[in-house]
């Protein structure tokens, strides 16, 4: 059972099933495959497979890392024997120098009149797959914890307060001081920024700023810039007298005229419509008036922006991020070159030495063997 649970066969079966399920899910998003019980069960199985596989491979990994130089078995087919060397001690030095310049980790042990040398390189590459598996387990674990996260949105007008959704944080209130659209030197929108105060249990806890790509964090609660909008404060004189807060872009009727007001950098743009056609436009600044008839007019008082912040409390995020960090490290370790191991036994009495080279990359392995034998020719 344990063998099957840690097997590559199961890994491949699970990966294939996850691939098919994911394809199906993107084709039929309404079915919510990713939120289904069976998909989560698949992920759990995948996680178990990774865990058992990693756990079982760790002892051999540590054995390899902590390996000590030992005598080589002459009978082994991978062992090469070089005999009748003129100057064995000089050759020994030369080989050690070669491994040092190639940045191998060298261990030396003497036993039974033999000097055994173990030269190893590429530990990072050796560790990489195990680290990647471990990282994936951490990410999946974090993802599982994230499924208990809570999130919501809060819409606040500048100068006003609003409660943070209680499922995210209780007794937390946001007071927005300012909301700005930032523009770059070419006049394109660079970002949206909200400045706000945070109150917890009625006391001011922090002042913060949030913008796209730069959320604000407070004790595990994260605030994201999600959306924004404008209302326009206008005063109307005449039959519908009063001060109104007009949503940006919404069409109104006054004295048989249809119009809307939209925010532009130049000011509030008023558009008058006949049917779907715009028949007249006008930019209004603070205090400007538009007369609709002799006794009806609209005076533009001020713009009233609002911001929409995403609010989230997710204890799984930090775990997932640590998993991601490990995944990135493991990925880079894969590029550091294959693990190579050279085991040499020098026998001064018999004037010969034995060596064996281990590396999964055949070309690299052949290269090392060639280098070692070439050294002999040079000597």
């Amino acid at each position: 059972m344990l063998n099957f649970l840690s097997s590559i066969k199961l890994a491949v079966i699970l990966i294939t099933t996850l691939v098919l399920a994911s394809i199906f899910a993107t084709l039929y998003p309404a079915l919510n495959v990713f939120g289904s019980f069976w998909f989560r069960l698949l992920l759990l199985l995948f996680c178990m497979n990774l865990f058992v596989c990693t756990l079982r491979s760790l002892p051999s990994l540590f054995t390899k890392i902590r390996k000590e130089p030992g005598g080589l078995s002459k009978e082994s087919s991978s062992v090469r024997i070089i005999e009748n060397i003129d100057n064995l001690s000089h050759y020994k030095k030369s080989l050690l120098h070669y491994f040092k310049t190639k940045r191998y980790k060298i261990k030396e042990r003497s036993s039974n009149g033999q000097l055994n040398i173990l030269a190893q390189k590429g530990f990072l590459n050796l560790v990489a797959p195990h680290l990647l598996h471990l990282a994936l387990i951490i990410v999946l674990l974090g993802g599982f914890i994230s499924s208990f996260s809570s999130e919501g949105k809060v819409k606040v007008f500048v100068g006003e307060r609003a409660d943070v959704p209680p499922n995210v944080a209780s007794n937390m209130v946001i007071e927005v001081n300012d909301f700005q659209t930032l523009y770059d030197t070419q006049g394109a929108i660079e970002n949206w920024v909200t400045d706000f105060n945070l109150y917890v249990n009625g006391n001011k806890a922090r002042t913060g700023t949030t913008r796209v790509n730069n959320p604000f964090k407070y004790k595990g609660v994260v605030f994201y810039q999600k959306s924004y909008g404008y209302n326009h404060l206008v005063e109307i004189a005449g039959e519908q007298e009063g001060i109104y807060r007009v949503p940006d872009g919404k069409i109104f009727k006054l004295e048989d005229q249809f119009f809307n007001i939209s925010y532009t950098r130049a000011g509030a743009l008023v558009r008058f419509f006949r049917g779907h056609d715009v028949v007249k436009t006008q930019i209004l600044k603070k205090g400007d008036k538009i007369a609709f008839s002799s006794d009806t007019y609209l005076q533009y008082l001020d713009i009233h922006p609002f911001t929409v912040l995403g609010v989230k409390k997710d204890p799984g995020t930090k775990i997932v991020m640590s998993g991601f960090l490990l995944m990135s490290m493991a990925s880079m370790f894969f590029w550091t070159g294959r693990y190579k191991e050279v085991l040499i036994s020098f026998n001064d009495v018999e004037n010969k030495f034995y060596f064996t080279v281990s590396c999964k990359n055949k070309a690299v392995k052949d290269g090392i063997i060639e280098d070692i034998t070439k050294k002999l020719e040079v000597e």
Binding site: V12, T26, N213, F324, M327, M332
Partner: protein, 273 residues
């Protein structure tokens, strides 16, 4: 400079087409005598491709990785870069016959896209974009190379069995060499794909407030990652040759679907890519 883009794109395409034609003639009608000319053409096309990217970069004031056109241009560039590196190290010029059609088809698609410069939306103004998209380009380039080698593998395998006198059997490298190189380039591409997924998720956490949304683009990137993971694992169980080549082809089809299919058929929050 903005007006130079389209003509330069067509000239680059023309050079890649010419390079393909010369490579084809070189391997079909001559005995390798035109190889140097073909190499000159492909390097020229690559230089033009690079100039186009530099112009685009100067126009937008950063790395041109912000939309489908810019990504596609970088994708083509990466495919050729990896081809040139592999070709120079392993003498694999015949793979140009399979790499260049991918490049030409991609460029034929790109010439139909809008090349005008538009300001980047705030979410794209992030340092994460560079690592995220550059690693995507590297991995996709490597997978394209592996795809070409896998197709070559299957063709040679078929020719050896059914048409042993066919001259392409001699032209193509040995089956073992193609299989091994296909595996090696996937080994370069896979870590890059992993970093692409990770940086995308971290960026999404900062930008959208959610590191994973099961958006079609990210789901298909994950599907691609799963397929190549399966490839690497089944090789440990001895899957080599034909089976591995088929899996590599499936992987690249997933790459293409992630790049193009998702953008047009399964829109999501990656609307700009």
């Amino acid at each position: 400079m903005e007006n130079f883009q389209t003509p330069l794109l067509f000239i680059t395409l023309l050079f890649y087409i010419l390079a393909f034609v010369v490579y084809f003639i070189n391997f079909t009608y001559t005995k390798g005598t035109l190889k140097i000319h073909a190499r000159f053409l492909i390097i020229s096309a690559f230089i033009l491709n690079t100039i186009l990217l530099v112009i685009r970069g100067l126009l937008i004031g950063g790395l041109p990785l912000r939309n489908l056109f810019e990504f596609g241009l970088f994708f083509v560039w990466a495919i050729i870069l990896i081809f040139l590196l592999v070709e120079s190290k392993y003498e694999l010029s015949s793979s140009a016959l399979f790499v260049l059609p991918i490049v030409i088809l991609l460029l034929l698609f790109l010439v139909n896209l809008d090349v005008s410069i538009r300001p980047a939306m705030p979410a794209l103004r992030s340092k994460w974009l560079i690592v995220h998209v550059l690693t995507a380009v590297i991995s996709y380039g490597a997978f394209a190379m592996s795809f070409a080698l896998s197709i070559m593998y299957l063709i040679k395998d078929w020719l050896q069995e059914h048409k042993p006198e066919n001259k392409f059997i001699e032209v193509f490298p040995t089956l073992e060499k193609m299989d091994d190189l296909s595996y090696k380039v996937i080994f370069i591409g896979m870590p890059a794909l992993t970093i692409m997924l990770v940086t995308g998720a971290v960026w999404a956490e900062y930008s959208w407030g959610r590191y994973w949304s099961w958006d079609p683009k990210e789901t298909w990137a994950l599907i691609t990652w799963f397929i190549y993971s399966a490839y690497l694992h089944v090789r440990l169980r001895g899957w080599k040759g034909k089976k591995a080549a088929l899996l590599s082809i499936v992987g690249f089809l997933a790459v293409i679907f992630t790049f193009l299919g998702v953008s047009y058929l399964l829109p999501g929050i990656h609307s700009y890519a």
